[in-house]
């Protein structure tokens, strides 16, 4: 029987212990502002790593991640909203709905599940397309969800949104979900299922002729991605303590796509790095904006940097390679696990 204490597992456990210690130190020493930024980082890791399942590994370029985030966000917000805020904002809903407030962790999972449930019929339709057509269809999904949020007055309060939520997203929840997401995505990608995903991405005809159920693989990846998108949306809503339709805009979808592209779509660790960089860079740039009193300049800098990135390092920082902590301590260089970058 194989021992549990393989080199890989030791590194994995060591990594988690190290992360817990670091987070504990951060939680004890940093002020609320830095904790807020760190929480945001955790949330972005959840979102980027999950988007990677469709955009990076299966090659289905989705622009609908913000739609699943909105679903997860609204569902969890409606479930956890404190009673006092309910009475003020949801007076039009049935009485039983005024009288309960669900714990945040459960609401987060339910938010993710509903996003996944919506992804099923949506996936059945939009995954009949590929490439640009799929991108446009998922963008359409975002528009549909946004209009629903803006117009379903009694439930979402339209453009006014829902506010007064508990600020339930802590450092531990944000990074806890980040670890779970990265772990699930990693295991999925490095399984026979993951091989199928990559095969579908690289040549779906060849994959089909080898007996891979192409549509099924793409659908499952889409649904998994939607689940974590919903979870990320729930975390974000409880970080901001409010949820309004404009938060889940194209800008947010693009931000997550940018994180993925910078880190390297097709690399799990790349998506984590991309999320970290794109959380911190805007904060530093905002700091510079303040110091030199040049509001708005950071957006121009980020845009210019992105263009430069696309010209000089199209495949992202990591390409489709992975960062293998377990190999850092070995003599021989690590061998690439994955194949070439997706052709997007």
């Amino acid at each position: 029987m194989k021992s549990f204490l393989t080199r890989k597992n030791v590194v994995l456990l060591g990594g988690i212990v190290l992360l817990v210690v670091l987070l504990g130190v951060a939680d004890a020493t940093l002020n609320n502002y830095y904790l807020r930024i760190l929480q945001l980082m955790g949330i972005y890791i959840v979102l980027t790593a999950s988007l990677n399942l469709t955009n990076g590994f299966t090659g289905d370029f989705s622009l609908g991640h913000a739609a699943f985030m909105a679903i997860g966000g609204y569902v969890s917000a409606l479930l956890t909203m404190p009673l006092a805020a309910r009475a003020l904002q949801l007076a039009d809903l049935p009485a039983w709905f005024q009288e309960f407030a669900m714990p945040f962790p459960l609401a987060t999972v339910l938010g993710g599940l509903l996003a996944a449930l919506v992804a099923l019929p949506v996936g059945l339709v939009v995954l009949r397309l590929r490439g640009h057509y799929l991108a446009v269809m998922t963008l359409g999904l975002l528009i549909v969800v946004k209009s629903l949020a803006s117009n379903w007055e009694p439930v979402t309060r339209g453009a006014r949104g829902l506010s007064g939520l508990d600020s339930a997203t802590t450092l531990w929840w944000a990074f806890g979900w980040a670890v779970v997401t990265v772990f699930v995505v990693w295991r999925l990608v490095h399984s026979p299922f993951g091989r199928s995903m990559i095969a579908v991405r690289d040549d779906s005809v060849a994959a089909a002729s080898r007996g891979i159920y192409v549509f099924q693989i793409r659908l499952i990846a889409f649904i998994m991605s939607a689940f974590f998108g919903g979870v990320g949306g729930a975390l974000l809503a409880h970080q901001l303590t409010a949820i309004t339709p404009p938060t889940y805009s194209f800008d947010l979808t693009f931000l997550i796509v940018i994180m993925l592209v910078i880190g390297g779509s097709g690399s799990v660790t790349g998506s984590v790095i991309g999320a970290i960089i794109m959380t911190i860079v805007p904060v530093i740039l905002r700091d510079l904006e303040r110091r030199f009193e040049l509001p708005g300049v950071s957006q121009i800098i980020i845009a210019a940097a992105l263009i430069a990135f696309m010209i000089f390092r199209r495949q992202g920082l990591m390409g489709s390679r992975e960062m293998h902590p377990s190999t850092w301590f070995m003599k021989k260089p690590a061998t690439p696990v994955s194949v070439d970058a997706p052709q997007q």
């Binding site: 002020n31 609320n32 502002y33 830095y34 807020r36 930024i37 945001l40 805020a85 003020l88 803006s150 117009n151 007055e153 339209g158 453009a159 006014r160 949104g161 506010s163 007064g164 600020s167 974000l236 970080q239 901001l240 303590t241 409010a242 309004t244 404009p246 938060t247 800008d251 790095i273 970290i276 960089i277 911190i280 860079v281 904060v283 530093i284 905002r286 700091d287 904006e289 303040r290 509001p295 708005g296 957006q299 920082l317 990591m318 390679r321 960062m323 850092w328 260089p333 690590a334 690439p336």
Partner: protein
């Protein structure tokens, strides 16, 4: 390959460290300004922030507060909730702001407020008029402007008393807290003083064609005396234009959503007989108003763009007044208590007092009239 990994790791670590910055000094009081000078709020927040800075400058030039200078800490909130929450947290934690002021939007104020509330820092909303804002956020939340209840009641009273209206038609934008609240309070007051709402109709912000609503209005057997429109600035002009173009000439009455050059610009010659309530008339001959307009013009080379400049100015003065009276100007709780006991503070947008137990000022409402593209001051109504 390994180099790239280490590089990526190094870059991430360096960025984490670079995030840290400096905090507050001793002989100054830090007041945070929460405004969005980029994005959708920019047209009202930039004047607001300018007014805020102007007030701080005047206070510092006349010796500061308790011998200390005021430093206005500011970072652009970009009209967007994620940035806004980061900014509010940064102003409190890193800059050590003892009080915050700003935001001209109720939805954004509902996002920013709870962070200040959790940290125990008083927050004065300068132009967010949602009447329930202080209750929804908590005892650290104050308003420098009046609530929509006050302005809706003022315009309802003006309709019944001065315009002699007994019947009214109401058109409401369903998309905003502001417009739905304005409508609710207008109808309550109008019917309480014996008036009758003959028809209520609605639309959603972004609509451009109001012919269906106007047709239903024209189909009424007897035409109402006034047309009440609860709109935000974007639609104020279009609605006015279409109502007048349909040949309906009754007075149009509304709230501060109509305090925008768009009414005259879009409706042109059709901008007739429109009455609206707002925070201040910058053409008022009142010395406080004129001093403000002169100082603002000198500082920024342009006259105050709208009433939000005056509200920003008043917000800073409201905080400064509380800092002067506070038992300890470094203790946010003491500043909060001093704010709550503000009485008869002379401000550009009217004298500000917080009634016992309320953090929403009772102050005068200004009624303005638009005739043939020209906006003129009509009167101020004391509550």
């Amino acid at each position: 390959m390994r180099n790239i990994q280490l590089l990526a790791l190094g870059v991430s670590a360096a960025m984490l460290l670079a995030g840290c910055s400096a905090a507050a000094a001793d002989d100054e009081i830090v007041v945070g300004a929460v405004y969005s000078i980029t994005g959708s709020q920019a047209s009202i927040d930039q004047p607001g922030y300018n007014g805020f800075k102007l007030a701080a400058k005047q206070i510092n030039e006349s010796g500061g507060i308790n011998g200390k200078q005021i430093r206005v800490a500011f970072s652009d909130a970009a009209s967007e909730t994620t940035t806004l929450t980061n900014v509010v947290s940064e102003l409190i934690e890193n800059d050590g702001a003892v009080a915050l002021g700003g935001t001209n939007d109720s939805t954004l104020a509902l996002v920013a407020g709870p962070i200040a509330q959790a940290a125990g820092i008083p927050f004065v909303a300068s132009g967010a008029t949602l009447p329930t804002l202080p209750e929804q956020v908590g005892d650290s939340m104050f308003m420098a402007c009046y609530g929509d209840d006050l302005q809706a009641e003022a315009i309802a009273d003006y309709s019944t008393e001065e315009l002699g209206a007994q019947t009214a038609w109401a058109l409401v934008d369903q998309a905003y807290d502001f417009t739905t609240a304005l409508n609710k309070f207008f109808q309550e007051r109008f019917t309480a003083s014996g008036g009758e709402i003959v028809l209520e109709d609605s639309y959603k912000s972004g609509d451009t064609d109001y012919s269906a609503q106007i047709a239903r209005l024209q189909a009424l057997k007897t035409q109402p005396d006034v047309l009440f429109v609860a709109a935000i600035p974007n639609e104020a002009g279009i609605i006015t234009q279409q109502i007048r173009a349909a040949g309906l000439m009754q007075p149009i009455v509304s709230g501060d959503g109509y305090d925008t050059p768009l009414v005259a610009e879009v409706a042109g010659a059709n901008s007739k007989d429109v009455y609206f309530s707002t925070h201040v008339s910058l053409e008022s001959t009142d010395a406080v108003v004129q001093d403000f307009v002169t100082a603002y013009t000198e500082e920024y080379g342009t006259a105050p763009e709208n009433a939000f400049a005056a509200l920003g100015f008043d917000t800073m003065n409201l905080i400064a007044d509380a800092l002067k009276r506070a038992t300890d100007d470094t203790d946010p709780a003491a500043v909060r208590d001093a704010l709550a006991s503000t009485q008869n503070l002379v401000a550009v947008t009217g004298t500000i007092s917080f009634p016992e137990g309320s953090r929403k000022p009772s102050k005068a409402v200004t009624i303005m009239r638009i005739v043939d593209e020209v906006t003129t001051f009509v009167e101020t109504i004391q509550p």
